[in-house]
Each structure stands twice: as structure tokens, then as C-alpha cells.
């Protein structure tokens, strides 16, 4: 796999995992169970560890407890599918270290509180409709987009570190190698490439937020 392709697959995994997590968090928030809510609050605040802490710990634990090497399977015997699937673990580390969980929980709580005051929600609750069915999709999409835009700078920064620690041959790993070899030309090319991908993702999330804002303005 090419370095750009590898990094992009990891970012796509990141988006998928964060999407699933966002969905679960929104369900917890909309369910209005106070104990689960408090537990989730504490968990999301406590579980934002930097990659430099989390990645070596997982590699060590993986090797010690499960006899599994979590560094990148770059040998020729591994198929592209196996390599793509392996990127799921570093992408999960990125989700935790970018603070996504904390952002999405805060944002979902804020949006949930905001939308509860609307008449259509009050009316729906009065006739027995669940809050999740009424607010779930709105709160989910809005909080997901906002959380992505907040965590993307961290993701793109930590991408270099995680790729270097786990030997993942992506753009971040190549940038690390270029910096070590003092290869200015390649280094700045890779930096520009990373910045370009980041800008693309950032523009998409901003555009998504605007589009959603316009849609929700009618309520």
C-alpha cells in the first residue's frame, strides 16, 4: 500500500469508529439515565490519553498478555486486507487520544439540553414519543460534526506519532524518516501533503456544519 493510501485508510477507520462511538454516546445522553450519564461523563473525561502513553502500553500489553505483535505487519505474506484491518487498532488509539469521546459527550449533552426546550419535543414527549426517536438523529449528526472539527487538529498531529511508534508506513512515518535524515525537500512535501489532507477534512466538516445549520434554522 502507498503511504498516502495507508494514512487515508487509517483516517477512514477513525471516522467510522468515532461515528459508532458518537451514536452510542448520543443514545446514552438521550436515554436520560442519570447514573449512566454520570459514569459516561467521568469515563469520557478520564480516557483522553496521549498517543505516546497509549500506544507503547498497548504494544507491551498485546505482546505480554496475548502474544500478539501490534506493530505493523509489513511483511509480504500479509494481504492488503490484513494490513487494512490491522489499522483498526491504531485508529482506535487515535479516537481515544484525540479527545473525541469527551468532545462528543459534551456536545451531545449541550445539544440535547438545547433541543429539549422546543415545543415539538415537549408535545412529542407528552404523547409518549421517546426523546431518542425525536432528537437522536439531530443531536447525533450535529454533535458528531462539531466533535470531528474539534478533534481533527489532534488527530493529524498524533497521526505522525502513532505511525512512527507502530511502524505504519503512512505519510506521518515518511515525514518522521525524512526529518531524521534531514531531507528538507521530502519533509516539506510530506508536511504540505498532510496539511492538505487536514484542510480537506476540515473544510468538509465546516461545510457539513453549515449545511446542517441551514437545515435546522427552520425549526
Amino acid at each position: 500500500m502507498g503511504s498516502l493510501f495507508t494514512s487515508l485508510i487509517m483516517l477512514i477507520w477513525y471516522l467510522l469508529i468515532s461515528g459508532v462511538l458518537g451514536w452510542l454516546v448520543t443514545q446514552v445522553v438521550c436515554s436520560e439515565h442519570k447514573r449512566i450519564y454520570r459514569l459516561m461523563d467521568a469515563f469520557s473525561q478520564a480516557c483522553t490519553w496521549p498517543v505516546i502513553v497509549l500506544a507503547p502500553l498497548l504494544i507491551m500489553l498485546g505482546f505480554r498478555l496475548f502474544a500478539t505483535d501490534l506493530t505493523f505487519p509489513s511483511s509480504l505474506t500479509h494481504s492488503h486486507l490484513a494490513q487494512g484491518l490491522f489499522l483498526l487498532i491504531p485508529a482506535s488509539i487515535l479516537v481515544i487520544s484525540s479527545g473525541f469521546l469527551s468532545y462528543v459527550f459534551q456536545q451531545a449533552s449541550m445539544d440535547h439540553r438545547y433541543w429539549l426546550d422546543f415545543d415539538f419535543v415537549k408535545f412529542g414527549r407528552a404523547i409518549g414519543k421517546s426523546t431518542w426517536r425525536q432528537l437522536g438523529p439531530i443531536v447525533f449528526i450535529k454533535s458528531l460534526l462539531t466533535s470531528w472539527s474539534m478533534s481533527l487538529p489532534w488527530v493529524f498531529g498524533e497521526l505522525i506519532v502513532i505511525e512512527s511508534i507502530c511502524n505504519i508506513p503512512g505519510v506521518g512515518y515518511s515525514l518522521w524518516m525524512a526529518t531524521r535524515q534531514r531531507n528538507l525537500e521530502e519533509g516539506f512535501y510530506l508536511l504540505a501533503l498532510l496539511l492538505l489532507i487536514y484542510s480537506l477534512f476540515a473544510v468538509i466538516t465546516i461545510w457539513g456544519q453549515r449545511w446542517l445549520g441551514e437545515k435546522l434554522a427552520g425549526y
Binding site: 473525561q45 483522553t48 490519553w49 496521549p50 498517543v51 505516546i52 502513553v53 507503547p56 502500553l57 504494544i59 507491551m60 505482546f63 505480554r64 481533527l152 487538529p153 489532534w154 488527530v155 493529524f156 498531529g157 498524533e158 505522525i160 506519532v161 512512527s164 511508534i165 515525514l175 518522521w176 525524512a178 526529518t179 531524521r180 534531514r182 528538507l184 519533509g187 516539506f188 508536511l191 498532510l194 496539511l195 487536514y198 476540515a202
Partner: protein
Amino acid sequence: MRGTNHTIRAALSICLLLGGLYSLPQWDLSINLKAAHTSPSWHFPLGTDSLGRSYLALIFAAIGETVPILWLTSSLALLGGWSLGILLSCLDRMPETLRWIIKVMCSSLKGIPFFLMIFAIILLSGQVGIYSVLWGLGIIFLLQGCSQIFLLGEQAKNLLFWQAHRSLGGSTLQRLWKYGVTSGWRHQLWKQWCISLQMAIIAETALSYLGLGVQEPYISLGLVLSEQMGSYLGGHILVALSGVLFCLLLLAQVPRWTIILLEKAD
């Protein structure tokens, strides 16, 4: 009475902890090849490295040597940035076009990932070591501090009480200090300071781990962690690793917890 009891208990716990730590026999960092790769024991609670130095002593030395310099540099750079931001905001006669350009630059700067900036600075400087890391952190925090104050000033400019103060003859500096730095923006600036401290530790450790930060013979948490990972196939490495990670986590997370407390207070 209950408050006094808690204070006495806390003081006793701290004394016991410090006493316990200082009663540990091995604190010197001298090379002792006979004790190389020793398993954890009372003498070496986290074992020893390839040169026979106690890992616990190495971790404490790393915290004592690197962290104060990092936090001092970050704080000074941020203070410099805030001062520069106040100075820029006070320039009332600045042309609107120039003001707009600075505003756009400040907004863009806030969005650029931190690690990309620090890699760019290391690439430009062409050197690795603690000084390049400190320079990188200093430049980034200076720019971030400056843009934070400038953008806050631009936002607050249209507030009614700011305009009222202006029409009564008050100076921009007075407004920035009285309504901004010491009141309205206080929590945001504290938060930025805490994030800077956290980022300084994370960046230094990550860069040292990757061989771009602190180099031997200086000691850093990243270097200790890197050595652990290099030999993770043998010995009681998990114990040593947990020690390094615990310290790193604590140092990186304490500023974060301060931010959470500040947000709760808000």
C-alpha cells in the same frame, strides 16, 4: 475541625510518601555494569537499564531535569505572546486591511495541528536536541498567545461597554487589562496556559521517543520509554514501563484536569 483532620491526614500521607521514597537505597545515576538489567527489587524498585542505573531514579531525574525547563519556556513564551497580542491590539491607527490580514493569519494559526508546526520548525532548524524542541515550543506558544489575545480583542471591540468606555475617553490598554485579561478572558487564558503545559510535555516526550528531542547523555521520559520499548521482549519491562507511563500520564493529565475544574467553575 473536619477540615483540620483532613489537612493533618494529607500532610501525614505526603510525609510518609516522601519518607518512603527517600528511604529507597538507590538514587544515584552512576553506571554499574554489574547491576545491568536487574529485575525489580527493594534496591531497584523498577529494575535497572543496560548501564545498571535504577529506572526509578532515571524517571525522577528526567522529571527534575526536563519538566521545569519545558514548563518555564512554555510559560515565558506564552507570556511574551500575550504581551505582543496586547501591543498589537493597542495599535489603534493600524490600517483596516493590515488588521484583517493579521486576524486571518491568527485564525488560521489556531487551526494548524501542533505536531505539524513543531515538525516544520525542527525541519527548518536542521538540528535535533532539547534546544530545537525548546525553540519550537517557544515560537509556537508565542504565536498562539499573541493570536489568542488579538482575536479576543477583536471580538470584544464591538461590545457595548467597551464602546462606552472608549467614548468616555478610556484607553485601549485600560480596556484590555480591566475588562479582558483580569476579568472576562481570565479563564480562557488560564486554559490556554494549562494546554501549553500539557502540550509541552507530550511534544517533548514524543519527540525524544522518536529520536528528535532530548539526546543522551541528558535524560528524558521519552528516552527512558524508548529504551524500554527497544527491549520489550525480556525482563520485567512491564513494571518499568508502567512507572514511566504513570509519570507521563500524571504530568500530561494534571493540566487537563485543571482545565476541567476551571470549566466546572465557569
